[in-house]
Symmetry: C2
Subunit: 197 residues, 2 copies
DNA sequence: GCGGCGATGTATCGCCGCGATACATCGCCC
DNA sequence: GGGCGATGTATCGCGGCGATACATCGCCGC
């Protein structure tokens, strides 16, 4: 998850750890913080895996930063070719099957780097998982409702509403995505039915 | 966090691991699952700490025979006196300062076991943390809005709305809590019922 | 000039919880 | 009478968090 985020941010421009974290907060801050305690080890791991390498010395490509001259021990990372591959690979993957998994958020943040079909697929995947979850909660809630005390019940219902809200959001997004994917009035007769309803 | 949940559930009646997990899903399922991978180690830790003990009513003396090659019995846990203390202690604590911290949900689920003042304090604490967070997001969002691409922006805004929604929820709860808390020695002459469930 | 202090910057440690996995027993239905 | 799903206990590796430890930089007051 963090891996994907790093790949995505570094896809724009090379960055060093601290800066990376600022970007992380700026782009994903609403649902995830990512402390240094995970950032630095992950960077190291990724470097060892070959997705990243150090961009030392000459690069002044760092955009929008104050007048920094990289003379200190800043370690600037950039993507390798394998890293870019890996990024696309991860982006296109549907992401794990857990409803708690916030990897979706990271996927979503980098939707700009993907094709429309992948976007729709991922949005629908996320929605399905949430719907399963919603049904699960509804079922157990219906079965146990009478035994739950007031607060537990309120908690469950609030949670349920959150899930429902996100499902609605996703549905909107999917529709928008579909609408904007409409083939631009090409005179070609529409021979191909696009998969899932 | 899981510790608090276990304490709370065992406060009702002694349970064994599997059952505990079912309850966990039923009462906290909307925001947390708690796998066995955390449940069993936590139980062990808590037992060692003295909050729990085994509620093994019968037949423990048969230790001599090496013949029991299988036959793992259910391990039923119950709270010790210290465990009950610990529960109250944890319940009354305001819970850590992180906005991601879902310990609040566990607190809330066991509000029935606490006094009204503690409830209000915890609700307000949670709300404060969310408000801080909301302001932080708003600020960075205002500053970086123009540089963010469409999807990132949408993500941030959705997240922001979620936070706002929860703040509203909490505010309602606080008001309800305040209203239903009978202020000591204030003879308000308005006995009208508000139709609270 | 100089001393403090907050922002920038890299890095590690211990803990917690998750998902996967392994293994064993029970009970019900075909 | 046997298969299979629910019940049940337990462990492992890993990803992420919060705290912490150090450095350096740049700006402020004095």
């Amino acid at each position: 998850m963090l891996e994907l985020a790093i790949l995505g941010l570094l896809h724009g421009s090379p960055l060093h750890g601290y800066e990376l974290r600022q970007r992380l907060k700026a782009t994903l801050g609403t649902f995830r913080a990512f402390s240094y305690g995970s950032l630095y080890p992950t960077l190291r791991r990724m470097k060892e895996a070959g997705w990243l390498c150090e961009d030392d010395g000459n690069a002044e490509v760092v955009a929008g930063a104050p007048a920094l001259t990289g003379r200190r021990g800043k370690v600037v990372y950039k993507l390798t070719a394998e890293g870019k591959e890996r990024f696309q690979e991860l982006l296109a993957e549907a992401g794990p099957t857990s409803w708690e998994d916030e990897t979706f958020g990271v996927h979503f943040a980098f939707f700009g780097q993907t094709d429309p079909e992948v976007r729709v697929r991922i949005l629908e995947g996320r929605r399905s998982r949430l719907e399963e979850r919603r049904e699960g909660v509804r079922t157990t809630l219906a079965r146990t409702r009478s035994r739950l005390d007031r607060y537990t019940l309120q908690l469950q219902e609030h949670g349920l509403e959150s899930v429902e809200r996100e499902v609605r959001w996703l549905t909107e997004l999917i529709e928008t995505e579909r609408r904007s994917t409409v083939p631009p009035a090409v005179p070609t007769p529409n021979p191909e039915e696009r998969g899932a309803p």
